[in-house]
Amino acid sequence: MTKELKPVTGRAWVFGNDVDTDQIIQGQYLTLLDYAEMAKHTFEIPRPVFTSKVKKNDIVIAGRNFGGGSSREEAPKVILQSGIRCVVAESFARIFYRNGFNVGLPLLIIPNVAKLVSDGETVTVDICEGTLSVRSSGDVLHGKSLPTRMLNLLKEGGAVAWYKQSVGKH
């Protein structure tokens, strides 16, 4: 079953550069076995109000090197669990980038995005087109189009669904 990737509209949560995985979900919570429980601690250090204020379809915006550090897949998982529909950053750390698509969290790279979007603004992200539009100003920011492999992973609904579709058949 391939999913349609519709544009998402939500409020922007803007972060700076080098948001490492401990800032997304701290090591002390990794032994929690339930993601819903763990997600209560998402962005606890840099944005203590995040989990109480986040709404479904909100969007995380960040500067360079988002998700550096640990390989923990819990990082994109808790972001997704919080209701965030995609992360737009100036660049992503390698393992986080892979993990995001594996678990079905779209990640888009747009130069200077953290400087061009203000916290709390309503934005619309079109993953297929690689664009972010700011509602108040009407500005449209253009990012890199997604590599085919990553787009296909999202359309399948993540790596497990992709595995069951392709590898699992043989």
Partner: protein, 421 residues
């Protein structure tokens, strides 16, 4: 045009024998290491995949190291699940809570072989580059896919050539060198790339010292950090993995690098380095931060918990007492390291100095147990990460340094140049 180490190591594992930087290739994995992530996350993914049997029970290593022995009920449950999985799947290589830290235990058991592809469910899996292997960290879903299929897709990385020449000065360690290199590169300076190490310093370096460098290459974002085989690696393999057959892999002379950097530590001597909070790439010369008061001094981890690390710390601490009010915690990297340290009298030196010696675990480094930091506390640590909250409370502060600098700082109760004690 020739090929880099990363390209050659990957190419030897693809069906068509090809791998050029920028390509996406499917490669066969020789060894997969999974730790507590197996019980906490991977098993759930495997269930979703409707998985039956692992691809090869002899090519998987399961390690219980992060919270060893269990620090709470959840980690105990994770360990229990791992033990059951090992039994159910007939996994050959299992290192339970008594063995030590994966990145040291795997080489010690002779499981890391030059020329192979080794994947770990842990970002510090770059460590095995010290053995001329292609090794990198992935997370739960990719590990689950490898467990089922034995293969994985990779984007072949571009390579940065790093050449180091000259000898270390007294009390300067390979930790100081890698802190300097990653600070020059920045936290994403090698993102998606291979850091390929060369030069006479690397060629003559002991295995443990090389592992420290490869371990921390990931802090600059590197995907892998392969080195060529040297005499010490040869001897290690002869001693610890005599039955393994392997050939060294060398890069071509005309390999293409996207960047190259040289460090001449003979003509531009390198001194002890300290990475200040909250990033490992915030390296400063020790004199810039000396005198910062500390609450805890930690020696251990996959970065610097090896016998050579404990020896230099013991040399500094022998016959002395650490500053009152400071905690010194020493966590040897493996049971084998612990026993060697016992036989050589190092553990007694640490205890006599007022320190605490723990069992081997990732414990304190991940803020798990056996050395967690409280609010406002300052720690100087031989570990690899000083992100906010990494070792405990979000308002604690971590300074990263070599075991020599950590030991000297424990004596003075403040960050101290090890050449001054």
């Amino acid at each position: 045009m020739g090929y880099t180490l990363a390209e050659k190591l990957l190419a030897s594992h693809t069906n068509d024998g090809k791998a050029t930087a920028g390509d996406i290739v499917e490669a066969n994995v020789d060894l997969l290491m999974v730790h507590e992530v197996l019980g906490s996350r991977i098993l759930g993914v495997l269930e979703e995949m409707e998985f039956q049997k692992v691809w090869d029970p002899e090519r998987i290593v399961v390690v219980n190291d992060h919270w060893a022995p269990a620090s709470d009920i959840n980690s105990a449950e994770i360990h229990r699940r791992n033990r059951n999985f090992v039994k159910d799947q007939g996994i050959t290589h299992f290192c339970d809570v008594d063995c030590g830290i994966s990145h040291h235990v795997l080489p010690e058991k002779g499981l890391i072989v030059p020329g192979e592809i080794v994947i770990g469910s842990d970002s510090h899996s770059t460590t095995y580059g010290a053995f001329n292997a292609f090794s990198t960290g992935l997370a739960a879903t990719d590990s689950a896919l490898i467990l089922a299929t034995g293969s994985c897709w990779f984007r072949v990385p571009e390579s940065i050539k790093i050449e180091v020449t000259g000898e270390f000065q007294d009390m300067v360690m390979s930790k100081d060198l890698i802190l300097k290199i990653i600070s020059d590169l920045g936290p994403d300076g090698a993102n998606y790339q291979s850091m390929e190490f060369h030069g006479d310093t690397i060629d003559t370096m002991k295995v443990g010292e090389r592992m420290t460098i490869c371990n921390m290459s990931v802090e600059a974002g590197a995907k892998c950090s392969p080195m060529t085989v040297n005499g010490h690696v040869n001897k290690w393999m002869e001693t610890l993995a005599p039955s393994k057959k392997w050939k060294p892999t060398l890069p071509d002379n005309d390999a293409e690098y996207i960047d190259s950097r040289t460090y001449d530590i003979k003509n531009e001597p390198l001194g002890p380095m300290v990475a200040i909070p909250d990033n490992p790439t915030n390296g400063k010369a020790v004199r810039e931060v000396s005198g910062v008061p500390i609450d805890q001094a930690f020696i251990g981890s996959c970065t610097n918990g090896r016998i050579g690390d404990l020896e230099i710390a013991a040399k500094i601490l022998k016959g002395k007492k650490i500053r009152e009010g400071v905690r010194l915690i020493v966590t040897p990297a493996s049971k084998h390291t612990w026993m060697m340290a016992l036989e050589r009298g190092l553990l007694k030196i640490f205890m006599d100095a007022g320190g605490i010696v723990t069992n081997s675990t990732c414990g304190a480094c991940v803020g798990g147990h056996l050395g967690v930091l409280g609010a406002g506390e300052v720690c100087i640590s031989s570990t690899n990460r000083n992100f906010k909250g990494r070792m405990g409370h979000q308002n604690s502060r971590i300074y990263l340094a070599s075991p020599a600098t950590v030991a000297a700082s424990a004596l003075k109760g403040a960050i101290t140049d090890p050449r001054s004690v």
